[in-house]
Symmetry: D2
Subunit: 209 residues, 4 copies
């Protein structure tokens, strides 16, 4: 798809285009193997009816996690979000999903370590496989992005990826890419778990704030 | 950009590609005029130092609003989110930004009406200009999407837009498109308000959960 | 118990004393019958393992509801809080607990009506039996307080109760009294459900923000 | 005030009475000096118009903090709550208020240390003056309670206080006592800052979820 004529576009829409293109290119950079391991793990936990899924992320990554947790709930999971009022204890049969671009967000690494200590399975979404978060995870999915915490590493990552970055400050690229990636995961889970949109709608909150 | 070879891609990554392409195509469907009115309104409110910006959305649209409100805070705005603990009263010099794909989410329409009653300025992000939300807003930006509440209208909207939709349930397309659109708005506001990434980082929470 | 010598006490501690005394006096004003109906309803829902409990309240009453919902979770309930990310659909076998001093908080009345429409059981905690919330509830517990929305009614209520009010603005008295009342309910549920403190600790979040 | 006849009271109301009496007795155990230092600090920060107040607590202590932060907002403070979407960076002229019964809640101690590193003023509400939190705070107010983390210390504390404890699990007593204490602080701040209930109402959210 050709870029829209830049003459008439305000900077906001040009940047929107650049971010969308970054996400599009990311599809080829994300490992199908890593992705399938994540989907397999989630599908297996669906059978495990008593099991809980706890999604964890700080700041805007936490919001991306919440959006995914909502869909997990709609799919029939016992999904929870770290930082909400209602967070049950995590056990051996539970699944923790941690989101951190840098893989070093202190709070999320600490929470992920606690999940591992409780013998839960840990899935990590991060730009850095070899980060404190990536190293302790059972399943890692590497998501391209430029993270706010590690500019030097970012620089090399960018070189390697050959990506000219859009004007997107701090963790924006990782966050937006992860959001769309996770909505892709939702689509595959719908198929695997044989859920229709109507099934999701039935579990969707009927009293919503 | 050519679609990646579909042979090796799991459904999750195929859907990720489709959603990203939907967002990319949306750039040409969003009105530059509507967009500029939104940016102008936000830039004008930045001068108005005492003014508050209240972002409102339900469910996943609310999360998209929160991600935008965080960036508004980083840019130096007194930004607040409906539904959080800390929400001040809204007055004549304040700005409300309401996000609803259908433009009929009851709670958000009610909140938007209350903002108008308080004489605040109202910006609406919705797929439907002629919806209860769109009709009362001072500035409307139409964002493509398929919303969960109005399937018939969606059907026609889809015909008109000529968009073959990815496997994205409920409000996913509207939510993801709005998220990337708003990150484009952030880029333009950075330029208009002469803010560097370092400026944003300085306001970024240094104690983050 | 005698009031502490007021000579040495700052106004803050004097008011703390007055509020605590208000709560103490409220014990005799709360109907044991209404209370037992609430406990019976909760105990019955505990048996109903698939059933969900949704706690609803606005502003500070919402926070009181969250504190109670946490304990319900610790007791083994599938408890949820309106306004959080994770709120499942409410059905016939579910229980909604609505908290509103005035019984007329628009959002909570609307949510309570939605719960009734879904055929859920509704418990209301309010100062006004004959309020929009009280009238639609299956079980009402009247909790003394002075609410921010209905000053005239408050005036008469205060006359009838013969209570000299402490310096506690807006809904403070209702909120603090309800908080302590609900912690009393927790104690009785522990006994009824044969739960020890250790049982609660086991369900308590082991990864807490 | 005499205890109500226990013959007719269900265990829930008896426990409510016991908790209220615990709060009442606590008034005499809380140091007026510590209390006045907290009020003075808050009153001084009110003058400092650009200054922010960040309230921090985990679990139910966090909810108590939120209820207090709401009132600080109503009083005219720029109040924020750790864990919400909107949390600005904390600086030298800002105030952090940390709530932890044990004074050792890891997350809150870490957050309090970060606030001290940023040169903010730190007020701690805890049952243990000589705890990790108490030791780094500029102002400590000791609030009686039995905390969930340190049963041995609790035991001695209880002996010293001569308090027969009500059937209140985990941190309940500390949380409820702190809530009423903080509402006492609100009353004194109203007087000091010459705020009427009507002033509070004006700042109270007019669009509330």
């Amino acid at each position: 798809m050709e870029p829209p004529s830049s003459i008439n576009l305000p900077l906001s829409l040009k940047t929107m285009y650049d971010i969308a293109e970054f996400i599009l290119r990311s599809v080829e950079l994300i490992s199908p193997d890593q992705t399938e391991k994540m989907v397999d793990t989630l599908a297996r936990f669906y059978e495990n009816k008593g099991g809980k899924v706890l999604v964890m992320g700080a700041g805007r990554s936490g919001l991306v996690g919440r959006a995914f947790a909502m869909r997990l709930l709609h799919l029939g999971y016992n999904a929870y979000v770290l930082g909400e009022t209602i967070v049950p204890a995590i056990r051996e049969n539970d699944l923790a999903i941690a989101i951190s671009g840098s893989g070093r967000t202190k709070l999320i690494v600490t929470a992920a370590e606690a999940a591992k200590d409780a013998k839960a399975t840990l899935v990590a979404l991060t730009s850095y496989y070899d980060s404190p978060l990536g190293r302790i995870a059972d399943v890692v999915v590497e998501i391209p992005g430029r993270t706010k915490y590690s500019q030097n590493e970012d620089y090399f990552a960018r070189q390697i990826l050959g990506i000219t970055e859009p004007l997107a400050p701090l963790g924006t690229l990782f966050e937006d890419t992860t959001q769309v990636f996770l909505d892709g995961i939702v689509a595959e889970l719908m198929m695997r778990l044989k859920k229709t949109e109507e099934d999701l709608r039935r579990v969707h909150a009927n009293i919503e704030l």
